[in-house]
Amino acid sequence: MNILVADDEPMLVRAIEGRLRKEGYTVQSASDGQQVLEQIARQAPDLIITDIMMPYASGLEIIAAVRSLPGKKVPVIILSSMGQEDVVLEAFQLGADDYITKPFSPNELSVRVRRLLTA
């Protein structure tokens, strides 16, 4: 299973990458929205974990782009420090599958990833 992790904080990307690799997933990473859009265009991953506030394209734009792709539906988990109700609702309305607010537990993230990939 191939997971794309996008966050503009390298330390956090490394931490999530490390955890997911340990669980047997193949992980790609991106540090801005543009990189995510390019990687999706090349080859859609099996799951995307993305922050909302990122340079060039936000997590919300990424959801919209992913949902416009033909073929199988790629699950998207939003991982953001923005916990405001309107942002969370907008993310779900655009088609996010899950929303995790920072600070988050990596154990909880692992469980949610597994749940979405086995659904």
């Binding site: 931490a15 955890r19 537990s105 990596p106």
Partner: protein, 233 residues
């Protein structure tokens, strides 16, 4: 003409040296980040018992002899602590304590630069260094507003409603923005305002009185406020 030419050559040489130096520092920081990355990763995934020490790689401990490397690691741990909760967040705090990085943060409190002091306060609070509360508490009445607000927020982060005891002695203004910030921090804390609330409603500091009124409204203690108003009248 010659002077201008010499100045130009000097300027170019300075810029080149500066860029080379910056590139060298960036390479060094990248190397350290690689060392620390595995250290942090191990800490995040660590499942040891209470008294056990977190594993520290040889390369990381060698790098940590340099103060700049220690500062880089503190910055990485702070970023991690802001983003991670649960056992992962707790392990980052444990790593910070185990490596004695609190001493580096503490040194910042003695710095003459206000931004260094504010940074030190933030680091100690985020890394839950409750043993340094006395040092932070002294800064809750600091003349510099940024240091003061950071220290007040730190105390509330560490001790919740108990931390509000700095209001007893606060003689400087508590800005509207800071009041909102403190209320937001307190909204994530269990408990209610202490019995000191009546004293704060009578404080000689008008901004403390204002904040106390907001606290009574937030915690539906309007009766207390009414009693105080009646007594004053």
């Amino acid at each position: 003409m010659l002077v201008v030419l010499l100045l130009l050559v000097g300027l170019i040489a300075f810029m080149l040296l500066y860029l080379l130096r910056r590139a060298a520092l960036e390479r060094r920081n990248t190397r350290w980040r690689v060392h620390f990355s595995s250290l942090i990763q191990r800490a995040i995934d660590w499942e040891g018992a209470e008294g056990d020490r977190l594993p520290v790689t040889f390369r990381a401990s060698r790098s940590l002899k340099r103060p700049a490397a220690r500062q880089l690691l503190i910055a990485e741990l702070i970023t991690g602590k802001r983003a991670l909760s649960g056992s992962a967040g707790a392990n980052l705090v444990r790593l910070y304590s185990q490596l004695g990085l609190g001493a580096d943060s503490l040194r910042k409190l003695a710095s003459p630069a206000w931004h260094r002091q504010a940074q030190g306060v933030q680091e100690l609070a985020l890394m839950e260094q409750r043993n340094q509360v006395a040092r932070i508490y002294r800064l809750t009445n600091a003349p510099n507003e940024i240091i003061r607000t950071e220290a007040q927020a730190a105390i509330v982060q560490l001790y919740g409603f108990e931390g509000l005891r700095f209001l007893d002695v606060l003689v400087r203004p508590l800005s509207e923005w800071q009041q909102i910030h403190l209320l937001r921090l307190l909204s994530r804390t269990p408990g209610t305002p202490s019995g000191k609330l009546r004293e704060w409603l009578r404080s000689t500091n008008p901004t403390v009185r204002d904040f106390a009124r907001k606290l009574t409204a937030e915690h539906h203690l309007e009766d207390m406020l009414d009693e105080e108003i009646q007594q004053t009248e």
